[in-house]
């Protein structure tokens, strides 16, 4: 619409210029320029009276806050449980809590990778900066985590822990600019469900995993392009 308005005004300018060139009589000149101005006004009016996406009416639902649904952030079930590889001497098998072993073992504050361990956790890939295990795991409460100031934080609140270092991501997350979500954008109509940090990032190796492209369009006549993939 704006395009038309500018076209019309351009046409008016050109017409006016032509009038100046062509008309010798002052009165006719004035008449013509008058019609010109009318045309501009009209086009502006029509442009604004038809659909105008630039200036929509004031938001209404912002005021209707009362029935707002929640933004539900998924949380871990609780502390992790370790699946036993085989039955223990007492013949028990299944899952056990971290504290099962760690309550009777002295913490080594220097450990930075599983390579240094000989009893358990072998093969655990760790690729999360230069952190030590006890930077995040709580030496006093094996079924909880610890913040940098030494205070205890539950596994369910793992995001608090992550946010200590990843404040930028946490801020983005708060504003929907980091992390996946489902449900409703309009909280007056329904809730929104969001992932938490460790849904997507393995805390021991937080880089987002590689994926394999599973779905590609099959266009007519672009088969050749598919075969040699060397599109510079």
């Amino acid at each position: 619409m704006k395009r038309i308005a500018s076209l019309v005004s351009a046409a008016v300018v050109v017409t006016a210029a032509l009038m100046v060139l062509l008309c010798l009589d002052d009165t006719t000149l004035r008449d013509h320029s008058h019609t010109g101005r009318d045309a501009v006004t009209q086009s502006v009016v029509s442009a604004s009276s038809e659909s105008n996406p630039d200036t929509p009416s004031a938001p209404e639902q912002a005021s209707s806050v009362p029935s707002r649904h929640a933004v539900l952030i998924r949380r871990p079930e609780g502390p992790p449980l370790i699946e036993l590889a085989a039955a223990d001497p007492q013949g028990r098998s299944g899952k056990v809590a971290c504290s099962t072993c760690h309550s009777v073992r002295k913490p080594n504050f220097q450990t930075r990778s599983a390579a240094a361990l000989d009893e358990f956790h072998q093969g655990l890939t760790f690729n999360h900066g230069t952190l030590t295990c006890y930077a995040c795991h709580n030496p006093d409460h094996s079924d909880a985590l610890r913040l940098a100031d030494g205070s205890k934080v539950e596994y369910r609140d793992v995001m608090t822990l992550c946010s200590q270092c990843h404040a930028a991501q946490a801020t983005s997350f708060q504003h929907g600019a980091h992390g996946g979500m489902n449900g409703f954008w309009d909280l007056s109509r329904g809730p929104q469900r969001k992932n938490n940090c460790i849904d997507c990032h393995d805390p021991h190796e937080p880089r987002f995993p590689k994926m394999v492209v599973g779905f590609k369009p099959r266009d007519r006549f672009s088969e050749a392009g598919k075969e040699h993939d060397d599109h510079e």
């Binding site: 659909s51 938001p59 912002a62 600019a177 954008w185 599973g214 779905f215």
Partner: protein, 326 residues
Amino acid sequence: MTTTNDSSPTGDGSQVDGSQGDRSLPVLQHSSRRTAVKGAFATLGAAAFVAAVSPLRQAAKQTTAAEFMQTHYKRLTDEDKRQVIERLEAEVKQEHGVDVDIADDRPIPGTKFVYAINLSVCNGNGKCVEACHKENNHDRATNQSYIRVLEMPKGTMDMEHGNTTYSGVVPKDDKFYLPVQCQQCDEPPCVDVCPVKATWKEEDGIVVVDYNWCIGCRYCEAACPYHARRFNWKQAEVPADEINPDQSYLSNRLRPVGVVEKCTYCLHRTRRGKLPACLEACPTGARVFGNILDPDSNIRWILENKRVYILKEELGTKPAFFYYFD
């Protein structure tokens, strides 16, 4: 002179015509014979004409009178719309044996939809492409979708260096990924060029197509700088059990052949408050959607706090679609 000159167009008639072709005033007898020849020619021609257009009869069967006479969406009364939708639902039931629910979702007052994609995060896995394909009842054989993803070398924004046919493991270390779909422009060139107003921008910013009004000239496809529009070169084929029954008239209902379609920001979802299908499918959380008129919305925060890139901004199309970076 032969007497069987009315039998074939090129055979015997030739001698007659050849012998007297230049005589300006043929005798009456020949004139009447000539009339007979002309009559035979005309009959032959008419028969050939009927034979030539016969495939059209089949095509005509697919178009009901009600569909042919249906007027422009904006001229339909509520009662008209009810009848049209009833007819469309019945047609799907008849053809595919599926009960679908075609709604007529209208814009929510005070909403203006805006989309943003985090290019620092997108890894080009194509889940959004697939989700769009399923959500919008696209043709299965061609893997049609409203989204195309370009694999771009780092260090450029020039799509000339991009590639849409990448495959395998993503993300590649030296690449970033640029998903492109309809930008729901505020100055949409596609809407300007449509000769019959079959496509227009609604109050919430979504550019829609009335599939029952489009004449299929594809001028909009030529005008769109984002390759956002698709034409139904053939009838899309979707297995009955895969048809998404949650439909809307201006959105993902099964489209007729020979018309143009496009991304509608899933208006059959978003106008009911839900997030678009491509966003929900994104495993990286790169996609953000919301109402820019709401000052507390995610999208508003991104535009105010992040570095934003607008695709082909120099064309003046004013997209309601932004790319941002962490």
